[in-house]
């Protein structure tokens, strides 16, 4: 079996599910012949036809609102938003409709749709192409928000997202689209949608992260190991609903916690994790929680983006401080 990248794993999951379920339909800008600007939908139109891979006109509210309508008919639309920075025109359709339809109709209609969007910084992209605003969606009741950090998890989580009977926002960290290759068995096996993944166990400190930052965090953990510090690394993966239990168990064991995220700090997912630890795990803590985070600024254009995003250095400093706290 050959190794594939994260974006190839996305493509493989889409192809698998389309082949096995006629109700799965892809729609979005440039998803057809072009295969998506990152090639996530490569060749799917030629394999499954123009009726199942739909190039839409340029309108994000339309893409999501149309997907809502399709989903109520039992289709499983997988809508692509070209970059997360362009999802906002669809915000109303997501918060007021997709996420609420089951509840408003007491289950009579529901919305099995997936919205995929590449997100995050680090690829020297133009303005509005590099933000990480997952927290905005994690606040929305009725929605699931999933962020894979490896080819394997991209494959398994995307399958789960498509099969789930509720709306899922699936955010793909584009910085790692092609960073790592893994063997990804194409057997259609889904991964659970509401569990964190413990990527590395350790006893000294808990590092909680998701998306592209998993990689910097893992590197820091490995460096720490050389110094005799064993970090437990948790990839949250599904940030909504948030599996706080796995995190709390780890913090109970380690007594220390650093949360690493690319997003702006205020009201972020990191805030929610820290808050829940402060509520439910205060007594476990031997040191203050730290959030290593993007700044509360507009994501800068790419000349400065490396200064915005958490570097291994920034993570390491925070870990060191936390470890040294007595």
């Amino acid at each position: 079996m050959s190794k594939i990248t994260l974006v190839e794993a996305v493509n493989q999951a889409l192809e698998y599910e389309m082949a096995h379920n006629n109700n799965v339909i892809i729609l979005g800008e440039d998803v057809g012949k072009n295969g998506g600007v990152f090639r996530a939908t490569l060749d799917l139109q030629s394999k499954f036809g123009e009726e199942r891979v739909l190039d839409t006109p340029l309108a994000e509210s339309m893409i999501v609102g149309t997907a809502v309508g399709m989903a109520t008919q039992g289709l499983r639309p997988v809508a692509e938003i070209q970059f997360m920075g362009f999802i906002y025109p669809a915000f109303d359709q997501i918060i007021n409709h997709a996420s609420r339809l089951r509840n408003r109709t007491r289950g009579r209609l529901h919305c099995p749709l997936v919205i995929r969007a590449p997100y995050g910084g680090g690829i020297h992209a133009p303005e509005h192409h590099s933000e990480s605003t997952e927290a905005l969606f994690a606040h929305v009741p009725g929605l699931r928000v999933v962020i894979p950090s490896s080819p394997l998890r991209a494959y398994g989580l995307l399958l789960a997202a498509i099969r789930d009977n509720d709306p899922v926002l699936f955010l793909e960290p584009k910085r790692i689209y092609r960073m790592v290759k893994q063997e990804v068995p194409n057997k259609g096996e889904a991964l659970p949608l509401d569990e964190c993944f413990v990527l590395r166990s350790g006893t000294d400190i808990t590092l909680v992260t998701w998306g592209a930052m998993v990689h910097e965090t893992m590197k820091v953990a490995e460096s720490l190991a050389l110094q005799g510090v064993e970090a437990e690394v948790i990839d949250v993966a599904t940030i909504k609903p948030l599996d706080i239990d796995t995190i709390l168990q780890s913090v109970e064991k380690t007594g220390r916690c650093v949360i690493v995220q690319e997003a702006a700090k205020t009201c972020s997912v990191g805030a929610e994790i820290a808050a829940q630890i402060a509520e439910q795990g205060l007594l476990y803590l031997c040191a203050p929680i730290q959030r290593v985070s993007g700044f509360d600024t507009v994501m800068p254009l790419f000349k400065l983006e490396d200064y915005y995003m958490p570097s291994e250095n920034r993570i390491y400093s925070a870990v060191k401080q936390t470890m040294e706290f007595a």
Partner: protein, 375 residues
């Protein structure tokens, strides 16, 4: 300079204000049963609507959006659609909801602040009332996309108001309907007002029907208070959509005789004279007059129909007023297909508060202690 495109907008009307036919009527409209059946629904809608307003005024229901004066539209929608089509309403097509299977108690429940009202025992996949203006247009094109993909013989019908035509979602929807040639009909009830904003302040377009031109679809204007014209225009647009010939925008000229909702006071922003003018165009009066002249409808039939309606309404209101309350925990139970376990604790908290509250209520039933006094 050369001309590269040209367009026209037509207007359809069959009856004048006195119910007199202005042109040869379509065949179906010469059949007594057709018109009586439509009239029955229009009258039921009007009488129910008045009761709904009264329930709100007496504190037995929440804010309600009356459809007074727009009953011909609701009836035409309800009667023109097939049962397995999908209706995607705004909030002012009460008559259509009734015809398509919502019970009056369901409608009252929705406006009474109870989600169960959007889960009526209907056999179709109609959407619930849409409050965010124009957002539902996209749901209709999505439904129509599904019909087209599955090669089903079904259509989606989306109802909106004149104000909704200013909203981006409306335009994005008609544009997609055009380019994908979808089996969908957009019905714009141009009742001349969007709350306090008059039609002229909403758009400089001479007609709302012509907005169709932007999307490359057909647009037509119709007298929305003329049931025959309304139904005929809808029949044609629906047939066109069903047979794969694409979408239509129907601009139905009508008038909101009531306040915007029970929370509004229209006298703040429009004149009594204007309302008087439009009262003359009343869709019920017009159809009734037509039936009296052309079909022997008389006072006796009118009275007995009215009584029949009123009895039905009374029963439904009773059913609404006596319905058992939903347990508050339902707010968790339809959030997802199954509740993620991390929310179980919140649900339990709510359950406990509810039980405590019930208990507290019983305990304090005869004292004057308010909830807050527990503190």
């Amino acid at each position: 300079m050369s001309r590269v495109a040209a367009f026209e907008i037509e207007y359809v009307q069959y009856m004048d204000e006195s119910g007199q036919a202005l042109a040869d009527l379509p065949n179906w409209a010469t059949e007594v049963e057709s018109l009586e059946h439509a009239y029955k629904w229009m009258l039921l809608t009007r009488l129910f609507d008045a009761k709904a307003v009264a329930l709100q005024r007496t504190g037995q229901m929440g804010t309600y959006a009356s459809c007074l004066g727009q009953e011909a539209i609701g009836a035409a929608i309800g009667l023109a659609m097939h049962p397995n089509d999908v209706f995607v309403p705004s909030y002012r097509e009460t008559g259509a909801q009734l015809i398509r299977g919502s019970r009056m108690r369901d409608i009252l429940m929705f406006w009474g602040g109870d989600e169960r009202g959007s889960n009526p025992p209907i056999a179709n996949q109609d959407f619930p009332v849409a409050i965010p203006i124009a957002s539902q247009c996209l749901h209709a094109v999505g439904v129509a996309t599904a019909f087209k993909y599955r090669k089903q013989n079904r259509i989606a019908l989306c109802a909106i108001g004149d104000g909704a035509t200013s909203q981006g979602d409306f335009y994005e929807a008609i544009n997609l309907a055009g380019v994908w040639k979808l089996p969908v009909v957009f019905l714009v009830s141009n009742n001349q007002w969007a709350i306090s904003v008059p039609r002229a302040a909403q758009s400089a377009s001479q007609t709302l029907a012509q907005k169709a031109i932007a999307a490359g679809i057909d647009g037509v204007q119709v007298d929305g208070n003329d049931y025959i014209a309304m139904r005929d225009t809808l029949d044609q647009a629906i047939e066109k959509a069903r047979s794969g010939n694409g979408a239509t925008i129907i601009e139905a000229l009508t008038y909101r005789l009531s306040d915007h909702t029970t929370a509004d006071d229209a006298s703040r922003y429009r004149s009594a004279e204007e309302v008087e003018v439009y009262k003359q165009k009343d869709p019920l009066l017009r159809l009734e007059r037509h039936m009296r002249v052309a079909m022997g409808w008389d006072e006796g039939k009118q009275q007995s129909l009215k009584e029949q309606c009123q009895q039905q309404i009374e029963e439904e209101i009773q059913a609404y007023l006596t319905a058992e309350a939903a347990p508050p925990t339902e707010m968790f139970d339809y959030l997802y297909e199954s509740l993620p376990k991390v929310y179980l604790k919140q649900r339990q908290q709510l359950f406990d508060e509810w039980q405590q509250h019930l208990g507290a209520r019983e305990e304090t039933v005869d004292t004057d202690v308010k909830e807050s006094d527990h503190v």
